[in-house]
């Protein structure tokens, strides 16, 4: 008998006026100790399927039919008590967002031990011993300190390790991993994958690995199921699907995954004018003062940054989170003023496009209002002229004219990011910063936005500083690359040279983690 068998699973959301089918007729079998991948874009129903298996969808407004059998027991029809006995002990789940999935007001030790408290009769000492063992298991050095720490003191990677430790502490038969690496840096991603493999091999825990990244699933799982709009369109051997996909959708998904490929570099004119010159930039953040009447100390977060951007150039800035990428962007834009060194703009109104288009647009204003705002603030144009400018800009970013009266929440993620790009271009800046502009988007949408940005550079001659943690995206897009580590630029040069022949150890490590 299979460990988990999903048969004819239908999930319907009833809260809208008409019921919405999220998952339709899903079949999935997991044998004990298997690693299975569930792949699809956001909204394809992969997370909902996992939540249904974990028993987290028992809500009034959700209708689930079909069968989810764990060791022959139907999880959809068993009593809440029976379900709770399985949750955390037989089935565990780890989530995409390690930052928010831990309780901020409880210590790590308390949270790791929770499943033991609920499912076993161990004494507090035994529980602590098990928790320490679990923390060592997930390769957290300094486990004693982490046991007593609160989540906010831990990095994203450490938190995800804690999540895995907590999920594995009762040695469950099945671990549901919902995009566990998406929110993490590339170097950490690789470690996390290795950790999941180790758990699978050491304890024989079967893993249902949910991801939008086909390449990642291929490297980890023996089998995979591809979901499109709640339906499984392709299922079978992971390697086979990856190398010879049968369905159009799978092919699209594969094609959209950014690869280490690029158009042959169009040589820039070396005499192009410089739009931004940064020289010897050091930026500071105030440090907490230790004593009452002590002068506030400062912490240097950027060290001697020097680079320039020419007209029409796309420069990639790569590095892990916390390395100072965003501080650099904020300093250039004048949002962070505590710096020494020189930032010389040869253009007015430098603009920025943020990562999270959803929360960086005012939800109470229409697209039209948002796009007109820069014109209202910085130009003398009449309302009629402003409308014309908006029409023109919508055309440039390939948004339909009818969307101008919509509110941001009525748009899809890709459309929102187009609106953000349009808003940043309204004043025809010569220089634009794009801070992780596609990392919150699905691969297929990501591809479209990247293509749009390239087209805009060709048509308007704007220069872009592209901040990204995805080395593949940077390779596709950029003429030159800056590699940043701990506030310093450790390597800079033409994209091809850096990728073919990295000089610095850190660059090599980054490229290796990204699978180059």
């Amino acid at each position: 008998m299979a460990l988990l068998e999903i048969r004819h699973l239908d999930i319907t959301f009833l809260d809208k006026k008409k019921p919405q089918k999220i998952v339709e007729d899903l079949h999935l079998t997991i044998e004990a100790g298997d690693m299975i991948g569930l792949v699809g874009e956001s909204g394809s129903g992969k997370t909902m399927s996992a939540l249904a298996v974990a028993g987290l969808l028992r809500q009034k407004n959700v209708q689930i039919s079909g069968e989810i059998l764990l060791d022959g027991k139907n999880l959809l029809t068993c009593s809440p008590q029976e379900l709770r006995q399985l949750q955390g002990s037989e089935i565990s789940m780890i989530f995409q967002e390690p930052m928010t999935s831990l309780n901020p007001t409880r210590t790590i030790g308390w949270q790791v031990e929770e499943s033991l408290r609920l499912h076993t009769n161990l004494t507090p000492e035994e529980r602590k011993a098990r928790a320490m063992e679990a923390l060592h298991d997930v390769e957290l050095s300094d486990a004693e300190r982490i046991y007593h720490a609160y989540p906010h003191a831990l990095s994203g990677g450490q938190r995800q390790r804690v999540m895995i430790a907590a999920a594995m502490i009762c040695r469950p038969k099945l671990l549901l991993a919902d995009e566990p690496t998406t929110a993490l840096d590339v170097t950490v991603q690789k470690q996390m994958i290795a950790l999941l493999q180790k758990m699978n091999q050491t304890y024989g825990t079967a893993v249902l690995f949910i991801s939008h990244d086909l390449a990642l699933v291929r490297s980890l799982c023996s089998k995979m199921v591809v979901l499109q709009q709640g339906r499984a369109v392709e299922a079978g051997d992971a390697e086979e699907i990856f190398t010879s996909p049968r369905q159009l959708y799978t092919k699209e998904l594969l094609a959209a995954v950014p690869k280490f490929e690029r158009q042959p570099c169009q040589r820039l004119q070396t005499d192009a004018p410089t739009v931004l010159q940064v020289s010897d930039l050091c930026a500071y953040y105030p440090k907490e003062s230790k004593r009452l009447f002590q002068k506030k100390e400062q912490k240097e977060v950027l060290h001697n940054i020097t680079f320039s951007i020419k007209k029409g150039e796309i420069i990639g800035l790569v590095g892990e989170s916390g390395c100072g990428k965003s501080t650099l962007a904020r300093s250039i834009l004048g949002l962070h003023r505590d710096y020494i060194g020189e930032i010389r703009h040869c253009t007015e109104h430098p603009q920025i496009v943020f990562q999270d288009a959803g929360s960086s647009l005012n939800p109470a204003k229409t697209v039209d209002w948002i796009l007109q705002e820069p014109l209202r603030n910085c130009t003398q144009l009449t309302p009629g002229q402003r409308k014309d400018c908006v029409t023109e800009m919508l055309w440039l970013v390939k948004l339909d004219e009818s969307l101008r009266s919509r509110y941001p929440w009525q748009l899809s993620g890709g459309q929102r990011q187009r609106v953000c790009i349009a808003a940043s271009l309204m004043l025809h800046p010569e220089f634009l910063i794009a801070d992780e502009p596609v990392s919150a988007l699905d691969v297929t949408v990501q591809k479209q936005i990247l293509a749009l940005m390239q087209e805009i550079v060709r048509e308007t001659g704007v220069s872009i500083l592209l901040i990204s943690h995805d080395l593949r995206v940077v390779y596709q897009m950029c003429d030159r690359v800056l590699v940043m580590k701990d506030g310093s630029i450790v390597e800079a040069g033409a994209a091809e040279e850096i990728y073919q022949d990295p000089q610095h150890d850190y660059t090599k490590k980054l490229l290796e983690s990204a699978g180059y």
Partner: protein
Amino acid sequence: MKYAGKKLLSMLATLLGVSFLVFFAFDVIPGDPALAQLGTNATPERLEALREEMGLNAPFFQRYFQWIAAFFTGDFGTSYSYHIPVGDMILEKLPISVFMTLMAFVMVLVISIPLGILSAKHEGGKLDTVICTVNQVLMSVPPFFSGMLITLLFGIVLRWFTPGGFVSLEQDAGAFFGYLFFPALAIALPKAAMAVKMLRSSLVTELGKDYPRTAYSRGNTKNQVLRNHVLKNALIPVLTFFGMALTDILTGSIIVEQVFGIPGLGRILLTSIMNRDYPVVEAIIMFMAIIVIVVNFLVDLLYRRLDPQINME
């Protein structure tokens, strides 16, 4: 340690600021304490003599510094109208007001926390609707009016207490608390209703976050998630409200004391204002300021206990 020192300094600075404002305000507002004491048909000579005697003719800053220096050594001056030390007057009345305030505050906690949890637990259900509706009504009734309704219902119809029949603590402790219960209830109800509303919405917000989902995935029941995970987080924003409610209740008890005929601080404050008995008024305001500052400090400490993200050092 550094935190405590910093906090203490800022508390002292606040108190000094308040003291200056209070003293300054009573110096510039129209009304002459000497005139108030002697009546309008006093001769100018007698008035002048009394002013001299009361020290009203000295320069402003000299009087301020004398007063504040005496205040910090525990000498709050002498009442103009009763000619007894202000300290004695206040100490006699303070326990009544403080008891009533604390009773009301405990009622706010005892009512709001269980009801807030209950309401959030059954969000959107019948019980939640009932609680929210009653809340809405209670919130919109000011304490002096609910005080009158309570007097009517419990005092006159049900005869559970005798309106106006205040019993002091020394006479009969049981009767004292029994009498204070109803005015305390009148003050507590609207505050409790607001607290229920805040706690409910805070709990609902927290329940929608990611970490309760993690808790459910480990096999917690809804009650366990609420009690062990969500409540502590949800209380953090509500704590500020509880602090404000406590100081609000203290200062707001003045009117309710009038409705129920309680000889607390409120009563002497009002009569002293009428009589231009400035030493009494100033001392009472200073006492209230001290209580407000101390309560805020305690709330701050509690914050640090609840929220590990606020650094102790």
